[in-house]
């Protein structure tokens, strides 16, 4: 298959996944219970993206004080909880990571 055809089909189908529910909502009946469950998508997806980055920085589980990304991540969680501010959260996490890398 021509490489451009692969991109075109892959791109069209990717677009279809993105448009799917945006297009269908209002056209098909979506059960009430399912709609209410959707509020759990952001906490579930975001946490599922975050946790592996922190506890398995090189692909294998590493829960120890030598895992600087985990410690920096915990610093960022505390900063986010305390400040509710994106910039402060990033600064806390990056500062912790840079400091640990530099000191140890």
């Amino acid at each position: 298959m021509n490489i451009w055809l692969v991109f075109l089909l892959g791109g069209l189908l990717t677009y279809a996944t993105r448009l799917s529910m945006i297009f269908l909502l209002g056209r098909i009946e979506i059960p009430e219970q399912l709609q209410r469950a959707l509020r759990f998508v952001p906490p579930a997806v975001l946490t599922a993206l975050i946790i592996p980055e922190l506890v398995m920085p090189s692909g294998a589980l590493m829960i120890s004080l030598e895992n600087f990304r985990l410690i920096a991540g915990i610093a960022a969680v505390l900063a986010a909880w305390w400040s509710r501010n994106t910039i402060i959260t990033i600064l806390a996490g990056m500062a912790a990571l840079v400091l640990l890398n530099w000191l140890l």
Partner: protein, 226 residues
Amino acid sequence: MKPSLRAFLDGIQAQLPLLIGVLPFGMIYGALALNAGLSRAAAQGMSSIVFAGSAQFITTQLIRDAVPGLIIVLTIVVVNLRHMLYSASIAPYLRKLPMRWKALLAYLLTDEAYATVITHYEEQQTPFSHWYFLGAGLIMWLSWQVSTGIGVFLGTEIPAGWSLDFFIPLVFIALVMPTLKDQPSISAALSAGLVAVLAYTLPYKLGLVAAALVGILVGAWLEGRK
């Protein structure tokens, strides 16, 4: 300033910290794509047509391994299945928009844009929120095209020690915090995080899909019990 422009600029601004993590990612993709034997035009074309980082990295690998085209297309679809969840989650907020807006915003619905925009909708939705989505989505799109271009033409020379990729989980941490408002949502998050680690070795980002589904089920179940 017109409120639509204000919202558009706010969307761009909210997306900026994520771009620091996205730019090196795009550059690495561009360099890897060339390395896998793609032409410059094809490497750049994939970024515009498919516009999905993880799927593009995997596609590059499959092209290098000379995997048949149909299998590559199927793989792209499976890797991007999670976008249906984003689509479902954001759909209620776009419900009243004209079809041309829905069609445009859907094209821009990446992981990073979703994270920023859904938080905006849940926390501070306005009648101009679609402009916010457009701003966040477009700047994300532009960064992906430019960083691919840099990777394609210059190769990548970012020292690994800079840890720029760490910006992305940090921004996600800031974004997830306000969504943890009650016990069901906290449980949804924790169970999704646990499954994400347990299912990490599943191919095609299916671990992420499994984690999201388990988290949603746990949240819905706990809420239903109340």
